[in-house]
């Protein structure tokens, strides 16, 4: 983990963004409010080709019983996988299920290719790696998504791990989270793992 003075804590007055986490002081955070979801968008460095930023987003969506689309993390994951599979050179690199902050969670890593800049006659095929943790907590489903071009993915992966490790729901419960680093350092070797990378224990 970076030194603590290199991080600041995200906290929002928006009750729909009822979570907090640490992110690097030199990254930019933005709150987004849409009709069907709320989001904290964290923008990291630009890639060398100046076509794509590394980024982490935390998206909160109501569950089906509260007006949303999905009832479970499995449903949300299935929808995401179905939609994303149309992307060029799509591959599933890893999948892990378990508990995150005592709530059911699934994490998946995919890769795909985008031609960047989009809609440009000089676009270059660019490999993107995307890691997504989906968790159901209370009346919402949350997606914590890390995206980067392939050459930057492992450079900034520690930032994503630190964000996840310091993530807290601000609903009154105090929890101490244990973080288990990737079992295999290369997602390509971690297909369909069933281990739980993130676990949490409630404390007094």
């Amino acid at each position: 983990m970076r030194a603590l003075n290199e991080y600041r804590r995200f906290e929002s007055t928006n009750p729909k963004l009822n979570f907090s986490f640490l992110y690097p002081t030199d990254w930019q955070v933005k709150e987004i409010e849409e009709r069907t979801y709320s989001e904290a968008f964290v923008r990291g460095p630009r890639n060398q080709a100046d076509t794509f930023n590394t980024g982490i987003t935390v998206t909160a969506m109501p569950t089906r019983e509260t007006g949303g689309e999905f009832a479970t993390v499995e449903e949300a994951l299935a929808d995401y996988m179905t939609r994303s599979q149309r992307l060029a050179s799509w591959r599933e690199l890893s999948r892990t299920s378990g508990l995150f902050l005592s709530s059911p969670a699934i994490e998946v890593t995919i890769s795909y290719t985008l031609r960047l800049p989009l809609n440009s006659p000089v676009a270059q095929a660019t490999s993107i790696v995307e890691r997504k943790l989906i968790v159901k907590h209370g009346s919402h489903i949350y997606k914590i998504t890390y995206r980067a071009v392939e050459e930057d993915y492992y450079v900034f992966l520690p930032v994503f791990r630190d964000l996840v490790r310091t993530f807290e729901f601000r609903d009154g419960r105090t929890e101490v989270q244990e973080f288990y680093p990737l079992i295999t350092p290369l997602p390509a070797h971690a297909v369909h793992e069933q281990g739980a990378e993130y676990k949490a224990h409630e404390s007094e």
Binding site: T36, F52, L118, N119, P121
Partner: protein, 124 residues
């Protein structure tokens, strides 16, 4: 006349502060494109022109992202309606990104977004 930076294919749209009618000129990059591809790109750039005619700006990141999302969505909708068996890497890619859903598509647009674009459009 102000250069339009988000899409490189259609090269010029007009500042809303101008008294002249908005015009668009076609990049040579599309000179051999099929009518279906042209229609999709016209839908994209026409959305940007309408965005300005509606008095909406490009002064903030949110305004640019929302305008670009609307333009890409219209491009994808037209492309999906007319493409048939035709393959076009760019229009197919746009349609795929839009099919990811609004939250995922807008996240990708934000990550492609350049601060430079907002700076150039300040004062429109």
């Amino acid at each position: 006349m102000v250069q339009q930076y988000v899409s490189d294919y259609w090269s010029q749209i007009q500042s809303p502060n101008s008294t002249a009618k908005p015009t668009r000129s076609l990049s040579e990059g599309l000179k051999d494109a099929s009518p279906n591809v042209l229609a999709a790109h016209l839908a994209h750039e026409g959305t940007h022109v309408q965005w300005l005619r509606d008095g909406k700006g490009y002064n903030t990141e949110d305004e640019i992202v929302n305008a670009e999302y609307a333009a890409l969505k219209n491009q994808a909708d037209v492309w999906n309606a007319v493409k048939g068996a035709e393959i076009d890497e760019q229009c197919d890619e746009v349609a795929t990104i839009m099919a990811l859903g609004k939250d995922e598509a807008k996240d990708l647009i934000r990550l492609m977004y350049r601060e430079e674009v907002r700076q150039r459009r300040k004062g429109w």
